[in-house]
């Protein structure tokens, strides 16, 4: 039996740039920043006082009683999944739940629930701790809620690979459909940890930008003045579907998920491999898996988080694995770094770049690092034909994931 093609038939997102995919994509193409100052009282004592916060609060979409039992990361996963489901034309459909799977992960999970309930425990005792605490903080919570929402009975899976999570969840979705375990997989990532503890933790690692007085210019991948990533929150979800299944129901197809490559560094728990060896292998595997000519992969949505070391390692890896022809984007310059949702949101940007024949801009690239030897659509979007494109995502723990999307 030949391997089935897998296509993308639905997209959903809620991000620092907009409450849905259309508004997020419009903002990206316009080069808008979603980063702002943290004005909450708790931020005053922190070394980092900027973040990319959601443009639309979950309370504007889901009702109050429902939100009482959802961690923020779960609520936005549900919101993005509902959008993707409707976008795929599956709302109200009679799709067999036993042919529907979910693959939705989070980098950190329900940490803000854990911390808030610990405050209640300390202040008021164990009887006051919410009975919803465990389902709110469990790492499989977002996937399980999405599965409940959509009636998925072919398995709900929760990938956790730090900042590679969203991309790896999509790669798992590809495997599930190829192996015949489901016809449709709702896949992606979610993250909502804008809270003093995660910020303090990342900033103790010296991983975050401290450009507190200039939030919109703080996330500046490949720029000489970059000084770390900017934490973002949001969710991105795609509907993956066996191509024949999509064709049979007359679904609109955005792109083909042509291939995926997953590797691990076995090098260091947080530092990327010094020569980007694992990243190079992931990209090469994705290209080989996709059976797409390298010359057709003309655009890369890079991982590029705005950290001094990581940004340049990726450039070296792309040179080696793909060549010198692709035009790059670092959309984190606008969205900040959505951690476990990053690979999913950036997959959505990659898919829309193919559909609309446009490379989204990389803002704040005012003074390119001399090591930036590949072409970047700096400041402004660039219109060009994109037969195929690559999305990279790397995570603490030495996770490397590359996805190849192509025109249907």
């Amino acid at each position: 039996m030949s391997r089935p093609d897998v296509v993308v038939t639905g997209l959903g997102a809620t991000t620092p740039l907009g409450g849905d995919v259309a508004s997020t994509w419009d903002a990206m193409l316009a080069g808008r920043s979603g980063v702002s100052a943290l004005t909450q009282e708790w931020a005053e004592q922190l070394p980092v006082r900027i973040a990319a916060q959601l443009a639309v609060e979950p309370s504007e979409v889901l009702d109050r009683v429902r939100l009482r039992r959802l961690d923020r990361s779960e609520a936005i996963a549900i919101i993005a999944a509902q959008q993707a489901w409707a976008d795929a034309g599956l709302a109200g459909s009679d799709l067999d739940g036993e042919r529907l799977a979910v693959s939705v992960g989070s980098g950190i999970g329900g940490a803000t629930t854990l911390l808030a309930q610990d405050d209640i425990l300390e202040a008021s005792g164990p009887r006051r701790v919410s009975p919803h605490t465990i389902p709110m903080l469990m790492p499989n919570g977002p996937a399980a809620w999405v599965g409940l929402e959509l009636g998925a009975k072919a398995g709900v899976h929760s990938v956790a690979s730090a900042c590679a999570t969203g991309a790896e969840a999509i790669a798992l979705g590809l495997d599930i459909i190829r192996s015949g375990r489901a016809d449709v997989v709702v896949a992606g990532g979610t993250e909502a940890v804008i809270h003093p503890l995660p910020i303090a933790g990342f900033s103790s690692m010296r991983a975050m930008s401290t450009r507190n007085d200039d939030p919109e210019r703080a996330s500046r991948p490949w720029d000489r003045g970059r000084d770390g990533f900017v934490l973002g929150e949001g969710a991105g979800i795609v509907v993956l579907e066996r191509a024949e299944h999509a064709a049979a129901r007359g679904a609109r197809v955005y792109a083909r998920l042509a291939g995926a490559g997953i590797t691990s560094d076995a090098y260091d728990i947080v530092q990327p491999h010094a020569e980007g060896e694992g990243a190079i292998r992931a990209i090469a595997k994705a290209i080989a898996d996709a059976d797409v000519a390298k010359r057709d992969i003309v655009h890369v949505n890079a991982h590029a988080t705005s950290t001094p070391i990581g940004d340049m390692l990726e450039i070296g890896g792309l040179h080696k694995a793909l060549g010198d022809h692709p035009v790059l984007s670092a959309t984190k310059s606008m969205t900040g770094h959505l951690l476990g949702a990053a690979g999913a949101l950036e997959s959505i940007a990659t898919i829309l770049a193919i559909r609309d024949s446009v490379v989204p801009p990389t803002i704040n690239l005012d003074d390119p690092d001399p090591g930036l030897t590949l072409d970047v659509a700096a400041h402004k979007a660039r219109h060009m034909e994109i037969p195929a494109a690559l999305n990279n995502a790397f995570g603490f723990g030495g996770h490397n994931v590359a996805l190849v999307f192509a025109r249907p």
Binding site: R66, R68, R69, R128, P131, H132
Partner: protein, 79 residues
Amino acid sequence: MTRDEITTGLAEILEEVAGVNPDDVAEGKSFTDDLDVDSLSMVEVVVAAEEKFGVKIPDNEVQNLKTVGDAVSYIAAQS
């Protein structure tokens, strides 16, 4: 406190915790079958009721509180 006052207090808790319409809350209504309060929300209702009415409702009593009227009677007897 009168039974009506306790019922009204429970209705406020049920609205806050589980989104139950206060007009639907009456002594004859079952928490699970009529008002759609699931087991985790029932735990929240009990804890909130203890606080509001200054009573103790042990876990082994909760299973006997099938209806709003059961809860009103228990609270009225304790307070």
